[in-house]
């Protein structure tokens, strides 16, 4: 059966409420249950065995003191108590939050601009899209090198240009205040292509008739963006925001590559602390406790977004 001939009106769509189904027979219900299982089990089993299982084990580890070399020692909630009162915990969460708040708007707006530009009639779109995707696949060793070169306080291009305008450029990654902004800039730049790819797929699922209809109605480019494109793009936007938040809270590679968490811990983020505690400072129990604290934070943020989805996201 082919669907390409089915004409459907996609204008004036409100989310379709789930129809109440007629009462089903027992056999039908069992059949339905099996169907649901058939669709869910392929993903549920690996997730349960290889992610949830270890997560629960990690919760167990969080109640111990363990240096990985000798058997773990039960300490109850000591790790949590220590973490929640240590100033360093607040500091790493703050740095992580700072990262997210700086990174997300930059990468989204930049990625959106790219997606819009590369969705239009532009010569050689496929080629440009590949180029813009290159940083996403380039390793952080190289990206960190490039950005440390660009942001070099004495010889970097950025400070040189700032100098022309009469601004005394900061120490960037050598300066505690500017270390995280340096990381944010490099990260947003690197991930533009990622956001672009997601939003492009979303843009291409939008029926152009809708845009044309708006244009015919006399709406300008900016108006079309806000009234038509962005709302219809909201499922993809939602995805980008949720994923960026979840990944943002777990940021690690870029911080490690650009500043190693320095100078003097000024850019240390949560996962770096977790890694250090586990593999460098022999405190796997404390690391697990910290990751469960992180989990609660991320879960909270995500739940808020999912609930807000009903208000913010239109499914076309």
């Amino acid at each position: 059966m082919s669907v390409s001939n089915v004409q459907t009106s996609l204008v004036d769509r409100a989310p379709v409420p789930i129809r109440t189904r007629p009462v089903r027979s027992r056999r039908q219900r069992v059949g339905y249950a099996l169907t649901v299982l058939a669709f869910l089990l392929p993903s549920a089993i690996p997730l349960a065995l290889f992610v949830l299982g270890p997560m629960i084990a990690a919760a167990g580890v969080s109640l111990t003191k363990w240096n990985l070399l000798a058997p773990p020692k039960f300490v109850g909630f000591d790790n949590y108590a220590n973490l929640l009162t240590a100033p360093q915990t607040g500091a790493v969460f703050l740095h992580t939050l700072f990262y997210i708040v700086g990174y997300l708007p930059l990468v989204y707006v930049g990625g959106l601009a790219l997606a819009l530009a590369l969705n239009s009639r532009l010569k050689g779109r496929a080629f440009w899209r590949s180029i813009y995707f290159l940083p996403v696949v380039t390793s952080w060793i190289v990206v960190a090198l490039v950005w440390r070169w660009l942001l070099n306080p004495s010889t970097g291009i950025v400070n040189t240009v700032l100098g022309f305008v009469g601004i005394d450029g900061p120490g960037w990654w050598t300066d505690p205040t500017w270390a995280m902004p340096s990381i944010i800039l490099a990260s947003a730049w690197k991930d533009l292509g990622f956001v672009m790819v997601i939003l492009l797929a979303g843009l291409q699922a939008i029926n152009p008739e809708l845009e044309d209809a708006a244009r015919v109605d006399g709406a300008g480019w900016w108006r079309r963006l806000w009234s038509v494109t962005l709302p219809l793009l909201s499922p993809s936007t939602f995805f980008v925001v949720v994923i960026s938040l979840i990944n943002g809270f777990q940021v690690f590679d870029q911080v490690y590559a650009m500043t190693g968490g320095g100078p003097n811990g000024a850019s240390e983020v949560v996962v770096q602390r977790i890694y250090d505690l586990t593999f460098r400072y022999g405190a796997a129990g404390e690391a697990s406790a910290l990751s469960w604290i992180l989990f609660v934070v991320v879960l909270g943020v995500t739940v808020v977004q999912i609930i807000g989805q009903r208000r913010w996201v239109t499914y076309g």
Partner: protein, 413 residues
Amino acid sequence: MNKKLLIAAGLIGAAAVVLSGCSASGGGDEGPVTITYTNFISNDGNEDNLQKIVDAFEKANPDITVDVTTMPYADYGTALQTDLAAGTESDVFDIEYANYAQYQANGVLAPITVANPDAYKKSLLDAYATDGTQYALPSSFSDVVLYYNKDLFDAAGVDYPTADWTWEDEKAAAEKLTDKSQGIWGDHQPVSFYEFYKVLAQNGGQFLSDDGTKVAFNTPAGIEAAHWLVDKSGTVMPTIEQGQGTADFDTNLFKDGKLAMMHTGIWVFGAVADVPNWDIAVEPGNTTQASAVFSNALGVSANSKHPEAAGKWAEFLSSSDTTVDVRLDAGWELPPISDDAKLSTYLDKGAPANRQAVFDSLDGIALPPVVATGQTEMQDIMTEELVEAQSGRKTVEDALKSAEERINAAIAG
């Protein structure tokens, strides 16, 4: 359409059976013994050299087979600790000196009976013994020396470093050699934990108290030593903003002929081989001569099922004549042996001319301070505080005080 899903599931199932057979696990315990060895020491181009040593050992011990796994250095610790947590560690594995105390204290290392202890340099062998029992065998060592560019010295009319130099001599020379207008710097020395405990020793101080429970560097000698490191930045050495502290910074500067002296390890010989006229000298001390020595070692797992075979392999790898020859031929670090005559071929391997300095440095060595808990934290904290002083955000005195407090807390365990 259930069929498609079923076929897919069947394929995955079949693949699973095939894939689980694709394991490379070692042999069992039937008859001859196979021991496993995990290392990082051969991973930067010396895998074949290691294989030569393995082959020689297996020839001399036909009932023992050695199964070698090589890991990247930077992540070796992660992999080893994961193994130890799960009980999958090899019979023999590499360790660094800095981790020895912690591993020994946690019962991870089996005691080793050394057949021929006199083959080893006593100081290195003792570094891996606790309470009279040998828990690991040193497998190699390298040290830190003073490199200098003869051309730059000639141009500035400064005499070359000698074995009698002290900090004063070095400082005077560095200042004369520095010419910022030409982009020439006199002396590079990293500002880090690894340099600090050494310059502390060079100034008669010590990093830890005698019982190892707290630090002992916050003394006038310690402050003076810290200044020795920190004050170079911006005067005879570039600042952090100018790139100091990034990877290979000093080596590149030296190679470009823009650095007159640098403190770094003997592993850089190869990298600067093309610099026209350079040589090395023993690092100048202040009140004492003390050079930093780094060493890797071999441990036998406390859970090993074949501790004697493992011990034999560890001893062979660390001190046999085969090993000595292979290492010297390949320029693969120095074997920790006591017989200097065997090491003499090392002296004639080309630049630098004064290779004798590598051995002379061993007359006064500064081993890294080690503790059973908090080793890595201690190192990180020290480096952080010194860098704070170097960037001018703290005075040296405050940095040392802060380091003292933080490290004492970290190593209290």
